[in-house]
């Protein structure tokens, strides 16, 4: 997965839990919890959507790494690069 693809997926899954967010214009460095008001149940939905879309399973231990769309994208790029 390229960085662009990873960012597109990341923006898409976050926007799915927060319908008021426009994936085209959202600030990718915005903090999920503090700035985008994503709570723990929203976060579970994000993790599930990532698995659905990409097959990547994010273990609970990695949750703290995912703090924004940008960090989610780089995490996904890293995980999918390792699989190729």
């Amino acid at each position: 997965m390229t960085n662009e693809q990873a960012q597109a997926v990341a923006a898409k899954v976050v926007a799915a839990v927060a319908p008021d967010i426009d994936p085209g214009t959202v600030e990718v460095s915005a903090r999920l919890r503090e700035d985008l008001d994503v709570d723990s149940l929203d976060f579970l939905n994000i993790v599930e959507a990532v698995h659905d879309e990409t097959g990547v399973d994010i273990p609970e231990a990695d949750y703290p790494l995912i703090t924004s769309i940008a960090t989610l994208a780089s995490y996904l790029a890293g995980r999918t690069a390792a699989h190729t």
Binding site: S40, H51, D52
Partner: protein, 428 residues
């Protein structure tokens, strides 16, 4: 038109889910009603055949208006009278008819193993109970779909049969459901105002938020006017619960992982069994205990607003089932699709500020309940155990109590029970 909340005076019928000639059974959802708080799916309380629909979709009518006629029954939907009237019509009794489906333990196990959604199943056995055949039929017609797709399909009212899956090996994914749910509706043009956040244009959404705010304002003002609140607070060491949660979630697919709120909600429900003086209603100058623990969960809505639907019989649910119901309830609340039995039926409510919240919340009780449990953000605090201080995950739990019904001593017993239950999470 049922009263779906203590202060509701009128509602708008937005959608009929049945038509004349349809056979209905007690507990079937027959209509969608829009209130200030949410779109609520309303159930019928009698068996019969729908003969006439009396109110057009889009019409606002006062509570008590007859909406439809059913042959073989008195009226429908049954007017759920407000809790401020006599005990015999208190919410805990009127909501028992559409209780969780009845079935034998082997059938329940089969349904669990097959991943069949019991909430969507109509039982054909005696008294509407679910039979083995009902479960097997449901399994046969299920197309392969991810857990997320199944949940989204249920929430958005999408029929999985006939959906073309784009996931691995033709599996239906959540994206497939979202694609279908957001397509322009093929149904006849019936006005469905504000059926989903972000889909309507700005004006109706703003009006809906303003109306919701006004309804909350009325209820909270009434609560503070009528209920002499007392407040208790305690800080609970969550290290055992947190460690147990990490161990339990490890190796589980994300659809089965639990958040820390789940054991806390279960503990809140079980503690209500131990201290029943806090579980029930203050009506006509007396406390009326409830035989059920319907745990209200305060859910904040994106863009503002707070709704507190109930998880029915939360004390009877397994922890996994409670977690699934919590996820489902929060998602449907935020999508604006709640069921009648979930509104106005809470016997005790929990408000959980969650990860972004303040350390403690001293909340306002929802009348006619007599208590509110507040959960602050889980943070590390220096806590002394066996003489040594360490940084441990902990939560500030508060109890707001109605001083007409209980005193601080009862509230303290509740918080003590809550802490004890959380200390043995494997038994929750």
């Amino acid at each position: 038109m049922p009263a779906l909340g203590a202060d509701m005076t009128e509602g708008t019928l937005t959608e009929w889910l049945v038509k004349p000639g349809d056979t209905v059974r007690r507990g079937d959802t027959v209509a969608v009603i829009d209130t200030d708080k949410a779109a609520i799916e309303v159930e019928v309380f009698a068996d019969g055949v729908v003969s006439r629909l009396l109110v057009e979709p889009g019409t606002k009518v006062p509570v008590g208006t007859v909406l439809a006629e059913i042959d073989g029954a008195a009226t429908t939907p049954s007017p759920t009278t407000t809790p401020s009237s006599t005990v015999s019509t208190s919410p805990s009794t009127t909501t028992t008819p559409p209780a969780p489906a009845v079935m034998s333990p082997p059938v329940r196990h089969l349904a669990h193993v097959k991943g069949v959604d019991l909430a969507a199943l109509a039982g054909t056995g005696p008294g509407g109970s679910i039979t083995r055949r009902d479960v097997e039929l449901a399994t046969r017609s299920e197309t392969p779909a991810s857990p997320r797709a199944k949940r989204l399909a249920r929430q958005r009212g999408v029929d999985l049969a006939g959906v073309v899956g784009t996931g691995p090996r033709g599996t239906i994914t959540g994206a497939d459901i979202e694609r279908i749910a957001s397509a322009p509706p093929a149904a006849p043009a019936e006005s469905q105002p504000g059926s989903g956040a972000g889909h309507a244009d700005a004006k109706p959404v703003t009006n809906k938020l303003a109306a919701m705010r006004a309804a909350t304002a009325t209820l909270m003002a009434r609560s503070k006017r009528e209920i002499p609140h007392y407040y208790l607070s305690t800080t609970i060491d969550l290290s055992v619960t947190a460690e147990w949660l990490v161990r339990t979630n490890a190796g589980r697919p994300v659809s089965e992982r639990m958040v820390v709120a789940a054991p806390m909600l279960k503990a809140a429900a079980l503690a209500a069994q131990r201290v029943p003086e806090l579980n029930g209603f203050w009506v006509d100058d007396a406390f009326h205990p409830s035989h059920h623990v319907h745990l209200g969960v305060a859910v904040s809505l994106r863009g503002g607003g707070l709704v507190a639907p109930a998880i029915l019989d939360a004390d009877q649910l397994s922890l996994d089932a409670l977690m699934q119901q919590l996820r489902d309830l929060v998602a449907r609340t935020r999508a604006g699709r709640l069921r009648q039995r979930e509104m106005g039926s809470a016997t005790l409510t929990v408000t959980n500020l969650g990860d972004n919240g303040a350390e403690a919340v001293y909340g306002v009780i929802y009348p006619p309940q007599v208590a509110l449990i507040g959960l602050g953000r889980v943070i590390d605090r220096p806590i002394a155990v066996a003489g040594l201080v360490g940084a441990r995950p902990s939560v500030a739990v508060t109890l707001s109590g109605d001083h007409r019904a209980t005193d601080g001593h009862v509230g303290s017993r509740y918080l003590q029970a809550f802490a004890e239950l959380l200390a043995t999470p494997e038994e929750l």
